[in-house]
Symmetry: C2
Subunit: 344 residues, 2 copies
Amino acid sequence: MNAQQNRQVLLAARPVGEPKTSDFNLVKTDIPAPGDGDVLCRTIYLSLDPYMRGRMNATKSYADPVEIGSVMEGGTVSRVISSKNVSFDEGDIVVARTGWQDYAAIPGAQLRKVDPTLAPISTAVGVLGMPGMTAYTGLLNIGKPQPGETVVVAAASGAVGAIVGQIAKIKGCKVVGLAGSSEKCDYVTNELGFDACVNHRNSDLAEQLSQACGDGIDVYFENVGGIVWEAVLPLFNMRARVPVCGLISHYNATGLPGAPNRVPELMFKVLTHRLTLRGFIVRDYDEQQEEFLSNTANWLKDGKIRYREDFVDGLEKAPEALMGLLKGDNFGKLVVRVSPDPTS
Amino acid sequence: MNAQQNRQVLLAARPVGEPKTSDFNLVKTDIPAPGDGDVLCRTIYLSLDPYMRGRMNATKSYADPVEIGSVMEGGTVSRVISSKNVSFDEGDIVVARTGWQDYAAIPGAQLRKVDPTLAPISTAVGVLGMPGMTAYTGLLNIGKPQPGETVVVAAASGAVGAIVGQIAKIKGCKVVGLAGSSEKCDYVTNELGFDACVNHRNSDLAEQLSQACGDGIDVYFENVGGIVWEAVLPLFNMRARVPVCGLISHYNATGLPGAPNRVPELMFKVLTHRLTLRGFIVRDYDEQQEEFLSNTANWLKDGKIRYREDFVDGLEKAPEALMGLLKGDNFGKLVVRVSPDPTS
């Protein structure tokens, strides 16, 4: 790579179903020049997250779509190369939404400094970043887990699910995970300390989940949908809460599933069991940023929260890695190493 | 009718689909004798409500099913015939859950006295009773309507919907109703003061609703389901709230609808628009009984809330009237006159 150029991964085409390599385009451009108040950042780590699939569609989900020919969006941990903003100095480590590229010049107001003494800086897009805060805010504000309750977490070895389950354990809950392989399930129970974990690829998923949740389900943190949702639905207790965070099993769908239409079944459960379903995204809770960071850093330090990162080397590998993420190929928080980490 | 006997309507068989006459059985028994602490009540008005269909099924919904051979459940306005409870005197008007029968002897603790000076006593099972309180508590606690927001109410001429919409108007909202005939729609706009009302039997329901809700939907009070839900779903604004109160269009269903399975569509809307769906029943808010009664009585007095009752004469007509209610044949709160009203 030529350090004097900026590599960018652009959205080349809107995927139909699973994204493919030709939906992305790697280009080289000049390194941008920062204007007044701007900071020139070089990407160290690029976070890959399921929501990115939604941004590749033409329809607005939370946010506007990425335009064809634009740089793919994404959170990064970056190093300040030069600054025209008094709040930032060369060498600062920052977290930014600079996307799938080597360099970006952006207003300092859009950056948050990373404290490299808290944890490895890659965690600023993981357990101490957007995924961790998604877990924290969704579970505590919507899930409201009470001691002794049963909390079920889909994608339990993933960036968000792993943190949801560990916070639920800290709050005194029984925690049951769902994950996509026996290796992941072993990790979830042995390393993360969940009480049980069910492989959602097992043909008897519903029965296994029912057995693991002997007292029913009080909180279900939804980030999967599909067959997992169908296995969870019959097990809800009265007044159960469902933070709806993601629906990864549907992101590559090109249409709705076939018969029967299970909406009435869902609505009857909401009605008779007084369920609360609530969608959210992390920025709904921006004001809880400091509280989240302080609590989670302490839990990390005390060993009450553990995390696992799945590193991919090279910006050019990002498209393939995102395709894999959508199929559950990753094991832990998926992060692309874009340039050397000066702190490690 | 022999006043010395107690007529009862029993559940004879569990309906498959629409209830039919043979699912009920009218019998005569002795008038029960009150024990210590009990009150012997004679039914004046029997309330017929959609939830009763659920109690006829074998499966538990909110509450246990009515057993085959048992008296159909229901709320009544009754007169105290004799009392072995110091809190009640002969001639008192009470509201009770004594079911589809002329007489019942029940503990005084299960009765609530009705103040006949507030409004006609039949309203104690209507606007000033369970349906009114369902509207009040569901709308205010879950819907949380804000001035200027758009509130959509299904079954808008019904016992609950009519009150939901009028309270939403009091709270400064734009209110759009849905009802099953042009006559009902006229009533909803002309008499109840809703801003608009769409006939849900129109083939272009979705388009008409969309036109009536030019600023989208902030609160949808769900008591219907089915095609109404499908018309509402695309119109939700960010952070809309959905009190789930009932699903009358599905109560007679014998299975789930056909393809496609619209659960992912629903869940995506919850996710991307941060919807809140919450099921409830009125007794979740028992502690708001006095507040509800006081506010609603004042609104009635001030002419801010109007109501319409649809009377059916004779206990023996109750089965047929319930069958009609489930098809939307009633126009206003459905009440069976079981014995003469001594206050009118």
